[in-house]
């Protein structure tokens, strides 16, 4: 099988790794996180922080900004929004099927998503690690925060892909539905289900609160369950699409 996401930058690929738009979006995200880091860089003396018994919040704020930006980029990649422009205003009649839809999800789309979400996170790491250093966070805390960012972005990408599979990438309803799902997961759960909210978990990590391991495990279990469900559903939807394609092809040949 060819790795189209590495070689094909046409509309046939949902989110090519070398797509100028995807990389420009990541560059923008890293720039915003850099600005966050500068704005919230602790400029008061460290002795003031020690005296007030309050460490800097820069790591939490930087990680939160990364979470929102990185998850959004992944949502767009999953929903196929990164390749075509203006699709949500004008309804395109020619929404070409993508490799992600045509090849078995477990062999192609899933592998692509797992890798791409990770690779897109890499450019944020120097800034995130610097913020963690400033906040004097433990290495384990930093790794846990990166896990939160990764799993949240993976969930967003899979939910974006789910919407794409249901509505296609040319649907205005799909456009808003995908974003609503992200808003629900990143913000709304903060109100009624903070245990599964990535911002809340990042805040707990920032505080390095006692028992953070338990909260992290609950979050990870909940998000990974959602990821697994979406993998199954997306896999089934892709399979159904492939079956449909094969059926219509055989009907045409017959």
């Amino acid at each position: 099988m060819r790795l189209y996401y590495l070689t094909d930058e046409s509309e046939k690929s949902l989110a090519p790794f070398f797509s100028e738009r995807v990389l420009a979006a990541v560059m923008f995200g890293v720039g915003v996180v850099g600005v966050f880091l500068i704005v919230f860089w602790p400029r008061r003396p460290l002795s003031d922080a020690i005296a007030a018994h309050q460490g800097p919040t820069v790591f939490f704020l930087t990680a939160a900004a990364t979470l929102i930006l990185h998850s959004y980029v992944n949502l767009c990649c999953g929903a196929g929004d990164m390749v075509r422009k203006g699709y949500h205003i004008i309804h395109y009649q020619t929404d070409k099927p993508t490799y992600e839809k045509e090849i078995d999800f477990y062999r192609y789309g899933l592998v692509e998503f797992l890798w791409h979400a990770l690779i897109l996170l890499l450019p944020f790491l120097p800034l995130l690690s610097l913020a963690a250093f400033i906040s004097s966070g433990a290495l384990l805390t930093f790794i846990m925060a990166v896990c939160v960012l990764y799993t949240a972005s993976l969930l967003c990408r899979l939910s974006g892909f789910f919407v794409y599979l249901i509505r296609g990438r040319a649907s205005t309803l799909g456009y808003f539905a995908a974003r609503s799902m992200m808003i629900f997961f990143v913000f709304i759960t903060l109100i009624f289900a903070p245990a599964v909210n990535p911002l809340h978990v990042l805040y707990l990590l920032h505080q390095d609160a006692a028992g953070i391991g338990g909260s992290f495990a609950v979050y990870l279990a909940a998000v990974m369950s959602a990821v697994l469900v979406l993998i199954r559903v997306n896999g089934a939807l892709v399979r159904r699409h492939i079956n449909k394609e094969e059926q219509s092809r055989s009907e045409v040949q017959g």
Binding site: F18, L23, I38, S47, A51, A52, H53
Partner: protein, 632 residues
């Protein structure tokens, strides 16, 4: 308890007795002795003996528990005594004495403190038997108590609330070595001991008494009355029967009352303290039946020495603020941070632009991008994190040493600040000496009580065991005395002011100043273990302006320009103004005194950290008052 035994089985074989304060009485907010006697009739056992003192109000949310602990080793059929010196701040909470084996409490006893506290200082009669009559005639403003010698404190600060200690000379020999050392140190720091001679003058030759009071016995003298006491306390002592008084001589002592050539009441200073020796037996007639005893003891209390230490009253809060400002941890430089982020974004943009271009070099640029990310992560770690924050804990200490005239101990106030960016279990050893350890709370923190800690009393000295939170500070204050590390004299003639001094410290005295005739003068640094003699022309002294705001500014600017170590500079910048003003206000009306001020870039106590190894810095401020002899 012993292995295999449930705690309750072992606890049944244990019994506990205690003696709190002085004969069960203690003063609030003062250090008090506590003796705990443990008897083990069961199998051998090891445990941790904890004394828990609780203060504060649950309503106000400032309940604080101070835990004093000692490791106990109780062989089978053994009785052991453990001495603590504790500070009780409130009588509303019970005092808890308990034995702990890991997480199991195997024995616990709660003591109601409400009936035991007194507001008065103590007049302690230390003897195995004291007639109640004696206690009844002691001054009203003191709380008279009879204490068995074995329950006297084992630390000098255990005498915190004691204004007068009365004992027979032979009682000294009954004290344990620690008790005797504690008594001696307390006396040198300003304690007051009245020693009754009695008739057994064999005890007066004993080494302990001779160390305190070099008594030379000439024999006895038989008298019928002591008219000299009339001059001492306005009441003559007359007996119906002849009685014996000791005829003694004490070197360098001052006789307060004498019959012909026989001293009856002799006073000798010891450091800042004072010992009064009575040549008669105060437990026997005619003294024990004398109606002038109340006046006698009132007079005895009034001759207690007034302590005039050259203490610099620098507010602990200001010291803590200065120590925080000088702590050896800092955030990475902001400008460096901007530079780092800017360069990273430029490189990232470059690589992203390159890899979006299709072509054979895309793979190389992709690898370059990953490498660049790794390099910048490493640079962030090595360039910004390691120099500033790699040490996630640090400490600094500030010691204020007040040196006075020869023969008196120097008195030190030592404050240790421990700063932690991460959760940090710590154990701090302060050496073999015993110190009163008090936690301090900075006003800048929102916390109402200091972080909890355990003061572990070990044979090797006290140890603070605690756990620091993230982004927290802990301050501990210790007081101690030591033999004066400075010696010398100051002399003025018509032309020169001469200062001869000996620095016995193993450290240089730097940024030295002298204050004389309302002027501050900078003098040379004094190297360790040297005896320099400095001569200053009086004309030069007079050229210097009398201390004022401009002079203060000049001195502070000098410190700012010449301070090398950042901790020294931070402390000087923060404390110099208050210090100099304090000296000026205190000594401007004492033209016959000179104040020497010097800084030592080391602490007089070297704290040893057992479970963590924070970076640290120490600083000592030496303040020495010495009289100026004037010669023509």
């Amino acid at each position: 308890m012993a292995a295999g035994l449930p705690p309750s089985a072992g606890a049944a074989a244990l019994s506990l007795d205690y003696s709190l304060g002085f004969n069960g009485q203690f003063q609030l907010d003062r250090w008090s002795p506590l003796s705990v006697v443990l008897e083990n009739k069961g199998p051998a056992s090891r445990a941790n003996l904890e004394v828990i003192v609780t203060s504060g109000s649950e309503y106000q949310g400032d309940v604080q528990r101070s835990v004093y602990a000692a490791d106990v080793d109780l062989p089978s059929n053994s009785i052991k005594r453990y001495a603590f010196t504790i500070k009780i701040k409130s009588f509303t909470h019970e005092l808890i004495i308990r034995l702990r084996q890991k997480d199991d409490i195997i024995f616990s006893r709660s003591i109601n403190l409400r009936p035991s506290f007194t507001e008065n200082n103590f007049a302690v009669a230390a003897d195995n038997f004291v007639s109640p009559d004696i206690l009844a005639v002691l001054p009203d403003h003191l709380c008279p108590v009879n204490v068995l010698p074995k329950f006297l404190p084992e630390t000098w600060y255990g005498y915190d609330g004691v204004k007068l200690l009365i004992m027979r000379a032979d009682t000294l020999s009954q004290l344990r070595e620690k008790q005797f050392k504690a008594l001696t140190r307390w006396l040198k720091q300003g304690g007051y001991l009245v020693l009754g001679g009695g008739l057994n003058y064999g005890s007066l030759d004993e080494k302990r008494l001779q160390d305190l009071l070099p008594v030379h016995v000439r024999g006895y003298r038989q008298l019928l009355e002591l008219p000299s006491l009339g001059g001492f306390c306005n009441r003559t002592l007359a007996g119906s029967q002849p009685f014996l008084v000791l005829n003694v001589r004490i070197d360098d002592a001052h006789v307060l009352a004498k019959e012909d050539d026989t001293p009856i009441i002799i006073q000798k200073n010891l450091g800042f303290g004072r010992i009064v020796f009575l040549a008669f037996d105060m437990n026997s007639p005619p003294f024990s039946r004398w109606d002038g005893r109340k006046m006698f003891w009132d007079k005895i209390v009034s001759v207690r020495s007034a302590i005039d230490r050259p203490a610099m009253a620098v507010d602990d809060q200001k010291v803590m603020d200065a120590m925080l400002a000088g702590m050896p941890l800092k955030f990475p430089d902001f400008k460096l941070g901007i530079l780092f982020i800017g360069i990273y974004l430029i490189f990232l943009r470059f690589f992203i632009k390159q890899i979006t271009k299709p072509g054979p070099r895309r793979r190389a640029y992709s690898l370059g991008l990953v490498l660049m990310i790794a390099v910048f992560t490493a640079v962030g770690y090595g360039g910004l994190y390691v120099p500033s924050l790699k040490k996630t804990a640090a400490y600094n200490s500030f010691c204020r040493l007040d040196v006075s005239q020869p023969g008196t101990p120097a008195y030190a106030t030592y404050i240790l600040g421990l700063y932690s960016l991460k959760k940090l279990p710590y154990e701090i050893d302060f050496g073999a000496d015993s110190y009163p350890v008090t936690p301090l709370l900075s006003e800048r923190t929102k916390a109402q009580i200091p972080n909890p800690y355990v003061l572990q009393i070990n044979p090797g000295g006290p140890r603070i065991v605690g756990s620091a939170d993230r982004w927290s500070h802990n301050f501990y204050k210790l007081n101690f005395d030591l033999e004066s590390p400075l010696a010398g004299y100051a002399r003025q003639d018509n032309t020169y002011l001469t200062l001869a001094l000996e620095n016995k410290l193993p450290y240089n005295l730097i940024d030295c100043l002298i204050y004389y005739k309302r002027r501050f003068l900078r003098i040379e640094d004094v190297a360790a273990h040297t005896r320099p003699t400095l001569r200053l022309r009086l004309a030069k002294l007079k050229e210097t302006e009398i201390f004022n705001d401009q002079e203060l500014e000049k001195i502070i600017n000098y410190f700012d320009r010449h301070g090398t170590a950042s901790y020294l500079r931070a402390m000087q910048s923060n404390l110099a103004k208050d210090l100099l003003l304090e000296v000026h206000h205190k000594y401007q009306s004492r033209p016959g005194s000179m104040i020497f001020i010097g800084w030592v870039q080391a602490g007089l106590i070297q704290p040893a950290f057992n479970r963590s190894h924070p970076a640290g810095a120490g600083l000592t401020l030496v303040n020495w008052e010495l009289p100026v002899e004037t010669t023509s």
